[in-house]
């Protein structure tokens, strides 16, 4: 019952390409699934696994994350002991560059002072580019029972992704799930029989401390290449399969696909099998006015719909005017779509306004992204 686990979340990814969507925000604060942000899914995994002591490592553009998380109340993480803490990239006062780490290892090293003060025995690390419902107590139990030095969660099928995006780590394991090598995926591939890392790592805090100190002293900065791959023969590094649905979000098409997958009832059930916490906005319920046509869509509180919406995901407070048609699109918070607009395969960022009669059409393989605060 007592928790002796510290959660570490990387709020950014080193390999993402989300165009305008991450221009002024860190990956973890990107809206996802209607009313959520990516961080909500990650944090809820920890809270639902009874891990209440969590650090979030940031690199840059993390203001939107601070805004969204506030004091952490909505995730029940405003605590005297433990709770949520955002580690800003200032930690090393000696450095003259701020906010730019040479790699994950340097990020960990610069924040080691805070990590060391935690009384936790184990650490569960998550990234922000792959989402998946996971019970961290299960992976921890497996880690302890199998006497692993490091446990790395993986997925076999990347369910939900048509292709495996560039930059994903492919793990080579023997039949006992012991990892003996790691390949960084160089092409967007369609392969079937690979095991992909999903960014969740479990290890003892003491081991993390010594591995990071060691790597830093040799000028090695990449956790996967310089620790997992390099030490796979000396340490007992094991894989742990996650069988739940995977949402991979490192490109615009991946982001679009991941959102659209939520329209599938089975995927949705799997994603929401445990509560997903998010910031409470006290919006009013959605209002459907006379003449609206809404089909196969996810709609959030505070929306007001007079037009047609199909195969789309609407965040909070979106207005769709009379005669407007929104198809296969993702509409973020407070966007306003006026009369007789037509949108197809479009991602509208927050607070965008689309004036009457505008038609915007993207394609499955290249959705159009409209930047935050734009007026079209």
């Amino acid at each position: 019952m007592m928790s002796n686990v510290l959660g570490l979340i990387f709020s950014y990814s080193e390999r993402e390409n989300l165009r305008e969507m991450t221009k002024t925000r860190t990956l973890a604060s990107l809206p996802f699934g209607g009313k959520y942000r990516i961080i909500d899914f990650i944090l809820s995994n920890y809270v639902n696994s009874a891990i209440y002591d969590i650090f979030i490592l940031t690199r840059n553009n993390y203001h939107s994350l601070v805004d969204h998380l506030g004091s952490g109340k909505e995730w029940d993480l405003t605590r005297k002991r433990g709770g949520l803490r955002i580690l800003s990239p200032f930690s090393n006062p000696g450095s003259n560059e701020t906010g730019v780490y040479k790699g994950t290892i340097e990020a960990l090293s610069r924040n080691m002072h805070s990590i060391r003060r935690s009384m936790a025995e184990y650490i569960v690390i998550s990234g922000s580019s792959i989402l998946c419902q996971m019970n961290f107590q299960d992976i921890l139990k497996s880690h302890i029972e199998r006497n692993a030095d490091i446990t790395v969660a993986y997925t076999r099928a990347m369910n939900g992704c048509n292709i495996i995006p560039q930059g994903v780590n492919l793990l080579k394991m023997d039949e006992d799930e012991r990892i003996h090598d790691l390949i960084i995926n160089n092409d967007d591939i369609n392969a079937q029989d690979v095991t992909c890392d999903i960014g969740v790592i479990v290890l003892k805090k003491s081991l993390l401390e010594s591995l990071v100190a060691d790597a830093m002293s040799y000028g090695r900065y990449d956790f996967y290449r310089d620790i997992i791959q390099r030490l796979s023969s000396t340490l007992n590094i094991l894989g742990y399969e996650c069988k739940n649905h995977i949402f991979e979000i490192s490109s615009v098409t991946g982001y679009m696909q991941a959102n659209m997958n939520l329209l599938n009832e089975d995927v949705r059930k799997n994603a929401f099998v445990q509560p997903i916490y998010t910031k409470v906005k006290d919006s009013v319920p959605a209002i459907y006015l006379e003449g609206c046509h809404v089909k196969n869509s996810i709609i959030s509180d505070g929306c007001k719909i007079e037009g047609s919406v199909e195969n789309s995901i609407l965040s909070r407070g979106v207005k769709i005017g009379k005669g407007a048609i929104v198809k296969n699109s993702i509409i973020m918070q407070n966007a306003e779509i006026m009369k007789t607009v037509i949108l197809d395969h479009v991602i509208l960022d927050k607070d965008v306004m689309v004036r009457e009669n505008r038609h915007i059409t993207g394609h499955d393989t290249y959705p159009v992204v409209i930047e935050k605060f734009s007026i079209v």
């Binding site: 997903i276 959605a286 209002i287 459907y288």
Partner: protein, 407 residues
């Protein structure tokens, strides 16, 4: 031990009543905890009015079936009332000497909590009840109270004179000073009726509460005893006129009407009002999902719903499932209720966690409907199961599960 500043005004919210005119809807919950408006409970309105008016210390007096209400209020966080000093406190009756005493009337409930009020050394006390839907800035009322140098200010509403006899009527002079109060008079002399919202200067109220408690014949009620006693002794009582939307939701009909008012753009109750938000405890639910077969007309739908049927002029609360080939019209479906395929629902209030099985018909009127005739409202109580193919006629109130067809 904690040094603190005094509070200028604190609020006391009377939430103890049983609300028997709401029938099966208040079998297991106190009236203020009854769901309203698609995602709220009735008590969200006075609580939100308080915080929006800058009042951060509220005592909620509970007595009847308080468990769900207590759990709903919790630490007050949804209303920003989880304060270190002040915030929201639940005030049930308790044992003082060797035995306990339940609340005898509204005034006695306040009397029993004098000690609580004095902890905050307030100058003014706002008395509210938990069964009205309205948005009101109590700070403006307080300003009026101070300007008039009043001992008690009573918020009043202008109603058509023919309806005034259903209320407590205030007879006031041009300066709004009240010279007479009549409870439900047959021949009302004025169309100013009390909204049940009072500001008292605390010293004065305390004096009258103690006096009233000494009177064995008193009902210990604000309207029946305290206000008349204050008038009799020549205290300064003033009316404060409120012009917005206000509705007592103490009956099934008025609860239904008040919900429907939210769908009517001509009724002046707008909940989507950023500077005057109505706060509520939100369930942890995903956004709503609208299916392939849904048809939606002039309706309000909340988080966690899955709608695949037809919904018209209705208010659908969080977590409701409406399957395909269902038609829901002019109805209120409370949280987590399931309406299975083929069912028809009209002019009904379906309480929370109900299951209406396939091909049932609830509230359908077989009689011809005359012009202007009010449709009777059908009510299904909490957590009931209505078996497949059941027909519940208009105007019925169901308080037991119907598990056999035709039963």
């Amino acid at each position: 031990m904690i040094q603190t500043n005094s509070k200028e005004m604190i609020a006391m919210l009377l939430a103890g009543g049983q609300g028997s005119r709401l029938g099966v809807l208040t079998n297991n919950v106190a009236k203020p905890a009854v769901p309203f408006g698609g995602k709220y409970r009735i008590i969200d309105f006075p609580l939100s009015n308080c915080v929006n008016s800058g009042i951060d210390t509220i005592g909620v007096l509970t007595q009847y079936q308080p468990l769900e209400l207590n759990a709903y209020i919790g630490n007050g966080q949804p209303w920003d009332l989880d304060r270190l000093y002040g915030g929201v406190s639940i005030l049930p009756p308790y044992v003082k000497g060797s035995e306990g005493e339940w609340y005898k009337g509204t005034a006695n409930a306040i009397y029993q909590n004098i000690h609580f009020i004095e902890m905050y050394r307030p100058k003014y006390v706002l008395i509210l009840s938990g069964d009205h839907i309205y948005k009101m800035n109590y700070d403006l009322m307080l300003k009026h109270h101070k300007e008039k140098n009043a001992d008690c200010t009573i918020a009043v509403l202008k109603v058509p004179i023919e309806e005034a006899s259903r209320f407590g009527v205030m007879n006031a002079d041009d300066n709004l000073k009240i010279y007479e109060f009549e409870e439900k008079p047959k021949e009302p002399k004025s169309n100013l009726v009390s909204m049940g919202v009072y500001i008292f200067t605390w010293d004065k109220l305390k004096e009258f509460l103690i006096k009233d408690e000494g009177n064995k014949n008193s009902d210990n009620d604000f309207g029946k005893n305290i206000i008349p006693a204050m008038l009799e002794e020549g205290q300064n009582l003033y009316a404060y006129e409120y012009n917005g939307y206000w509705k007592d939701v103490g009956t099934v009909e008025s609860l239904w009407e008040a919900n429907m008012d939210l769908l009517n753009p001509n009724v002046p109750i707008e909940l989507n009002d950023p500077p005057w938000k109505i706060y509520s405890r939100n369930g942890i639910l995903p956004p709503q999902c609208i299916g392939e077969n849904a048809k939606l007309h002039n309706s309000s739908i909340s988080e966690g719903c899955k709608i695949d049927g037809e919904v018209e002029n209705s208010i659908i609360f969080p977590g409701v499932i409406i399957e395909k080939d269902v038609i829901v019209s002019n109805s209120i479906i409370m949280p987590s209720t399931i309406i299975e395929s083929g069912s028809l629902i009209e002019y009904s209030i379906i309480a929370s966690n109900v299951v209406i099985e396939k091909n049932s018909q609830i509230g359908l009127n077989k009689k011809p409907i005359l012009n202007n005739e009010k449709r009777e409202i059908t009510v299904i109580g909490q957590e009931l199961i209505i078996t497949e193919g059941t027909i519940v006629p208009a105007g019925v109130m169901v308080d037991k599960s119907i598990l056999e067809k035709g039963a």
